[in-house]
């Protein structure tokens, strides 16, 4: 059973503005019959002021499609046509106090109907450029078509990259198998094979830093963090850099502080972000051990 908000239920059980507006001068018809939703939006717009005087909907669709239609008509009544065009899918979902991820397409349909109706009012032809695929990532409501298009457009080849570009797979990670399947399919079209163990290629356009530049970046990152630590009467200094290991000394309140390891993580994150590569930040005491275990 869907977890519908009270507002969704309210608008479904008591839809506002149901039916067609009698003398409408803006009509938008959109939908995807295969997915079970279709919507006709009828508006009466005052040609002198471009204000939407009346709005009505007819919807073939599920509970949230009906609720989204009802919400949309409530929201845009009294708006100018231009204001109405600024209503986003998220605005519709927010008005309804949220929609389940599987149901976000219902709010998309409302917005598209509005665009179609405005185009009709202005004597233009509205072209839908949005294709919808099966929902893959439920955490962030990302569908298969969106993932495929993003892989093609950006030449992606790993699940990690797909997550970085689309957010898909960044939540519970249960959809990594379907993402791998999509990668396999798209890469096969390009004559490549999907390699699940491949490391993501280095970010394009970021040439590898020279040694000196790299050290400066690390120094700068640490400098940027110091004021924060000093506020808590601590400090940090760079001791050495050995490949991927960055050794630092925690001083003042930071040395022996319970939070030292958390602080190290924070410093590490900062350096990784600034540097665009992975490094490990270690306390200087670890230099011996690191050297001993190096192969």
């Amino acid at each position: 059973m869907w977890d519908y908000s009270e507002t969704v239920k309210e608008h479904f059980f008591n839809p506002r503005n149901a039916g067609a507006v009698a003398d409408a001068n803006a009509i938008g018809e959109v939908g995807s019959l295969s997915c079970g939703d279709a919507l006709r939006l009828t508006l009466k717009v005052d040609p002198a002021t471009d204000t939407i005087l009346e709005a009505g909907f007819q919807t073939f669709g599920c509970g949230s499609a009906i609720a989204s239609s009802s919400a949309l008509t409530e929201m845009i009544k009294g708006m100018s046509v231009d204001e109405a065009l600024n209503v986003s899918n998220q605005d519709i979902a927010d008005f309804l106090e949220g929609l389940p991820p599987e149901k976000m397409h219902c709010s998309v349909m409302g917005r598209e109907a509005l665009q179609a109706a405005v185009a009709n009012y202005r004597g233009e032809v509205w072209k839908d450029d949005h294709e919808e695929g099966a929902l893959v990532c439920k955490c962030f409501a990302v569908d298969a078509v969106m993932i495929e298009d993003t892989i093609r457009a950006n030449g992606l080849s790993t699940v990690e990259e797909v997550t970085n570009y689309t957010k898909a797979g960044g939540g519970c990670s249960a959809c990594h198998e379907p993402i791998e399947e999509i990668l396999t399919k798209v890469l096969a079209e390009q004559g490549k094979t999907f390699d699940p163990t491949a490391a993501p290629p280095p970010p394009a356009g970021k040439p590898k830093l020279g040694n000196l530049a790299r050290i400066r970046r690390i120094e700068n990152a640490i400098e940027a963090i110091r004021p924060n630590l000093q506020r808590d009467h601590g400090d940090v200094e760079l001791v050495d850099i050995d490949g991927k290991n960055v050794f630092v000394n925690m001083t003042g309140a930071c040395s022996g502080c319970q939070m030292a390891s958390t602080t190290l993580e924070g410093i590490q994150q900062r350096i990784v972000e600034d540097l665009g590569e992975f490094v490990r930040v270690l306390p200087a005491q670890a230099m011996q051990t690191a050297a001993a275990s190096a192969d």
Binding site: M1, Y4, K9, F12, F13, P15, A18, G19, E29, V30, G31, S32, L33, S34, C35, G36, D37, A38, L39, R40, F57, Q58, T59, F60, G61, C62, G63, S64, A65, I66, P100, E102, K103, V108, M109, E112, A116, W126, K127, D128, H130, E131, E132, G133, A134, L135
Partner: protein, 408 residues
Amino acid sequence: MTQATSGIYLDNNATTMVDPAVVEAMLPYFTEQFGNPSSMHQFGDRVGRALKTARQQVQALLGAELDSEIVFTSCGTESDSTAILSALKAQPERREIITTVVEHPAVLSLCEHLEKEGCTVHYLKVDKKGRIDMQQYLDALSNKVAIVSVMWANNETGTLFPVEEMAELARSAGVMFHTDAVQAVGKVPIDLKRTAIDMLSLSGHKLHAPKGIGVLYLRRGTRFRPLLRGGHQERGRRAGTENSASIVALGKACELALAHMDEEKTQVRKLRDRLEQGILQTVPNCFVTGDPSNRLPNTCNIAFEYIEGEAILLLLNKLGIAASSGSACTSGSLEPSHVMRAMDIPFTAAHGTTRFSLSRYNTVEEIDRVIEAVPPIVAQLRRLSPYWDAAANAPVEEPEAAFQPAYA
């Protein structure tokens, strides 16, 4: 969603109420009868005896020749997977499977996965009433086929498939035959010893036993490879300490199902027909899907044209009536039920399909309340539908032409 505490439950193909006698039978196996049936002491022995009784109760309902042909599993899905994967593992030279387009995902998803691993799957098509194309079946049978898996009854429409005849054909072609009988067991009489069926799946929660218990019937002599290896439980065919409370429950439920079998084709069928006639007579533009002359006695699936199933369910639920739908929206997928699409039901009707599935616990009063509730709900949703002419109370003329939205 506000849950009706005492509602009208017409969703028995999804799951059933556990019979109070079944609950009573299983309860001691959570408390004093906690032993491990494999153990060499009285605690284990008492449970072991109870499992033996349960196995015989299942055997009786299925008409199996031997009680050793009953293998307890964790659910219908596990039984389906075990059967199909076993056939492939036991006959590595055979890489083809025959099944139908209208199977439950327990079989379909597995087959789609096996295709990725290099198997060839023949999906038998169905006609507008959901009946299998037997010529296609005969053409697909060959010595390359590892297993035929065809459901006994379809969960959405209740349509029955000629599995006994199909099993004979498979046997004469030297091919193993499995049937997913999850929806059929307990609703129609079954006598496996007189058939050529090699394997059969059933699931406890569809016949008034708890969820999470199933059976794979495995005809003696059928070549088999277990899904789970480990201990010697179930004669090594399904390792893992037995779910004794649920096995006892399933045994009891099978005994009750056998005792009530006649009621299914008399009382339950009568109620189902009353519901169906009541709705068809009062609601315009609706029709029964599947094969009405050859289906489970408890199932009725009606397509209400020009409205959507989830909306119907939400309004029914408000009145405390539980049913289910083949619409895309109820499953969160973008497509209406694969069963409705396979029968070539138009989208405008497929999305409005509503399944009412009864059990021996339903009463005539309940059915009459549903007959009263449905027409206003359908009318209410049609008033919102762009395909419906509210003034004429009929579909707009040539609905699919009159309303042609820009498709996404």
